[in-house]
Symmetry: D2
């Protein structure tokens, strides 16, 4: 299979470019009978769109989703669901220069080399963060499917931006507060500091990285097909498909390097007649299979590469080093807008695995 397609039984195809006609997705394999409207998808898209706050790009993307196929009388039919948003408010001209003067940290140069100069460079083409709209659309369907059939709840949120880390928050804060501030952080004091830091750095023409954490509740035991479609394998594959991701860790993550086995192992216990673990260093996955405990993992996002600050690059015509300053409406950090994107790709992978493992049937008879 080719690179713009993911999944085995709940398959997502992404298409479109940043400044082309549209960005869209096709889902093949969504069970028939799921209630689905454009509003279900719009709700998620609205969480991703820029221009909403002081900490994101002022680019106005209306991003009205249109469902082109696969839904009839308010329900999925079992046929491919094609959805898209039409592109508007584009200004491609500033990007022309990056073809010959590639932005450090962006995909300009590799895109040119891989596609022989034929890649669409307008708005970074396929290498734009805007492509994540296709993930969010498909993820919205996956989320609804998981929620309606299994009661799965997926919650991502900002854990860290520019060195400021959320520390004091409860699961209830995650549930109720993560979308109550511009940085999608459940710790409001940290959120305040993050916003301050973002504003400082943007004024300097610079940008910030950060970490998104995600928790998933309600998964049954048994999702994942070791060894190569282990649940963590497939989740990480999807997470690294999000632009700017540089690291993924589950449960205790990299901290396991400093733990003893006796500290890291999660002891089993019986609570309310059910087998559970008392800690969750495993992050909800053992042997590549969901344990029935909550999934928990973190995703590191690099600072956006498009910054106003001067940087060194090369002019590919003259083969000389030159300075570049990227003007325009760029996000000073992608972390808040990445929150719904993380939820989306996680939903896509989990929906696929829930179908594969027989937890969701081909037809929802409800």
């Amino acid at each position: 299979m080719t690179g713009n397609i993911i999944g085995e039984r709940f398959v997502v195809v992404s298409f479109g470019e940043s400044h082309g006609k549209c960005v869209g997705a096709v889902i093949d394999g969504c069970p028939a009978g799921l209630e689905l409207s454009e509003a279900d998808i719009q709700k998620e898209l609205d969480l991703r769109k820029p221009g909403l706050s002081s900490v994101t790009s002022p680019r106005m993307e209306e991003d009205r989703v249109e469902i082109l196929s696969g839904v009839f009388e308010g329900r999925t039919t079992g046929s491919p669901i094609c959805m898209l948003v039409w592109n508007k408010d584009v200004d491609s001209e500033p990007y022309r220069m990056f073809v010959n003067r590639p932005r450090p940290g962006h995909a300009d140069y590799v895109a040119r080399m891989k596609y022989g100069g034929f890649a669409d460079w307008r708005g970074s083409g396929r290498f734009s963060g805007r492509i994540t709209a296709s993930l969010v659309m498909a993820g919205a369907v996956a989320k609804k499917l998981l929620s309606k059939t299994l009661g799965v709840e997926i919650m991502a949120y900002t854990l860290e931006i520019g060195g400021v880390r959320a520390k004091n928050f409860t699961l209830e804060d995650v549930r109720n507060k993560r979308y109550s501030n511009e940085v999608r952080c459940p710790d409001e004091a940290a959120a305040y500091e993050m916003i301050k830091r973002i504003n400082e750095v943007r004024d300097e023409g610079d940008s910030l990285g950060g970490i998104v954490e995600c928790q998933v509740f309600g998964l049954p035991i048994g999702l994942g097909e070791p060894i190569f479609s282990a649940l963590d394998s497939d989740l990480s594959r999807a997470l690294f498909a999000i632009p700017a991701v540089k690291g993924v860790e589950f449960g205790a993550g990299f901290a396991v390097a400093k733990l003893l086995g006796s500290q890291n192992n999660d002891p089993y216990a019986i609570v309310d007649g059910k087998v559970v673990t008392l800690t969750n260093n495993a992050g909800g996955i053992l042997g590549g299979i969901s344990t029935g405990m909550p999934l928990i993992f973190r995703v590191a996002f690099k600072p956006p590469s498009s910054i106003a600050k001067k940087q060194t690059t090369v002019d590919l015509d003259s083969m000389k080093e030159v300075e570049i300053s990227v003007k325009g409406r760029h996000d000073p950090t992608v972390v808040p807008r990445a929150v719904p994107v993380v939820e989306a790709v996680v939903a896509i992978v989990l929906a696929d695995h829930a179908i594969r493992a027989g937890f969701i049937p081909p037809v929802l008879r409800c």
Copy 2:
């Protein structure tokens, strides 16, 4: 596709159980004409096998590879290559109790639940580290293919064990010293400390986690198929297929959360007439595509779950909590033995992508 199969054009199928007849792999899609002998594979397998040092399990696995198909007159034919090692020196009895009293941190419980009690529990069955022998066999072929056609060099090594981190080492140390000590660490002073720490912890009936770092040289620009088969996506998928992996990061990795864009972006420059970057925070991947710079990434391994120290688990018959102490020949840390396994899965993914991108032809005419 199902979970024991990976790849699109260089496809690897893993089969076998820890205490069944054998552990093996089939490769479908290896180009014809590659010189290949059992010695090529044995060399890599020998790096994985236990019993070689004070820091690994004393289980003696002879692990003589046998090529069953796909090689004729010393060269690959283009047909599927089946390879296996026969299992010997097995003692399954100690594992019987884990069916009802699952080891904390191991896959016993999820395996039982997912496969309805039919999973082979002997030696942990498919959830044994022994399954990595299939990865190493397939990886040996991929490595040779990459080396012969593109000159690709893949070098993994221990970066950290039990909180002891390698700090002082050069690329030459990586190349020459990583296999000169029992922990496969290029920093010999750190290696000494790691070994000391392992011995301490083993005596306490406990185990240690750690980090493997890997660098890859010689990759052309253009491997990777964004967005879902981005090179980092597919590498991470394969890395998380290795038992005990809890985190994967590329280049600056999780540290990007604390970097400014101006710090993290790798400036372009021209060196010897070639476009390069002066730093490599990207880890050799931008936009999901290899940049031509070295790949660099890190993989976190948890401490082995099978420890002699007493832990709490549940008895699934009586549904009561009980104590368990895992006796037997278990590794106090998997990190040193994971080093060749990391190289193997990386080779498998890179070979697949090199073929997909047209860098390796279907027939090697040499």
Copy 3:
């Protein structure tokens, strides 16, 4: 992978319904650098559309293709190509009754059973011949790719309709005359008889089956991946995806049952310094691999099931047998309109295999 997706390296995704908003296709994996315009696709679509002749449905489908992504400055970019035609001139109401009174020979009943009553029944939904527009759009790209890179020529034509078989025609007739008559038959006398037969049968409220033959010139030796992706395997898979196909045969086809080996074997010879076969009973495929001789195969199409003549079916509400007469604008035979569809799916499969075998590179540097 799911059922609306085909191919490994040149992947086609079909979406849309007969009376939904649109019918479309996404191609992922088309090499970058191919000159491509909507006119290239429109040309093929126009050959498929109804309403053009006395022997097809009078339904007017304007079928203007719109390319939504993957093409920039007149060339493919290497990104997914999404194309669609918007549906117009639909009259769904007549189809409502088939939900409860399934048409004999059509998919009404199985669609209802498989998709739990959620399938879109308007215009037969996904089970309409209209879905072949998605095949033709994708096939148009594949055809152009094959033609530009390898000079491949694909020619399908009507061999038989309603028992009238084309007998007297040369390869030049195929090339020049197949589109010169309404039934796309290279034998004009036979074409005349076919049209007469169609008109008779339509007047009786009945329909006719037939056979499409296809020849392909210019294929190199070596396409096909035995055993399961043998070239005939993958071609037949794609051909049976066309609605109404009931048989596929290559070369001598079913006639081999009556041949001796000495008659059926194609003797090798040297002509103009090249190894060729003097006959082509193999139809251009041996051992699942293209031989370098022309591909030749035949596809049997059943008579359209939607006929005005009275037939017996059941009413699924009352569970009683009832009579049905299908009114409306239905083709009396699909064979002439199937001709470009056969060419399209053949092109899709051949493009995929030509890329897989390394005959077409990921970037066309021309």
Copy 4:
């Protein structure tokens, strides 16, 4: 995916060569809990093996299956099932000459060209009918799975050999008599004529083609994923993977070309409270989906290409035309031995689709 792998959820990998060490298969995705022994597989293999009758090759293939993985305590575990037969009684020397003097009608020449001269030519390597042993092994598992879970019964038999066609037989004859004669034909009079014809033709150093028909009972409504994984698409793909197949037709097959819609449409009726069709020209498939009626289809096999009679070929060294006579232990017709192979590949496809459609769960709780 590559060519030696088929299926989505019940995946079969074929490996091995005619005169290499072994021929084998791996199944990934077989549900856990199926009772399975080597005897279950041996039974099917024995039906395929040569040397049993006057009408097959006298080559003695003991073909004792060995299960290497995936079965524990008499049941499948959900892990990959690797099975193989070791090759014995091989005499490769006679095949050496075909490398330079390719047999007409065989794959010698294309194999050499596609694999650059590296293909294993001994016993025709991967292009030997012997490779079908891997299909039969995998098919035996699929058959048992389908039988135990859904009561599916798959019956193939010889319909025609060398122009002699079975005409007088009932379904009971198929069930009881197809394995009672050397040609696996349910019409004993026809069988007698077939055997006579085979013996005549063999004495002349020639060979015969024929047709295998197959009927499948007990399939539920709803298998198949239109459009590209339509049930007939996937069945035909698998059938053309069998060496020597030149045509596949379902139900009325090529005869539809001469039928009117009113003749070909199968009228619905209610029998015993169930919706059925009174005829079965559809062959049990409409719109690519199983209808609940019996599957019925036919497969044309060409006469074996290896014949003693003199034929013309070319010497690839001297590039001159030469005569060739293929000596050795070749089947005068493959039809009788193809009967269990057809059943096997059909079972593989049906098992895959039954799992995909949710009719067989991941774990058999019985």
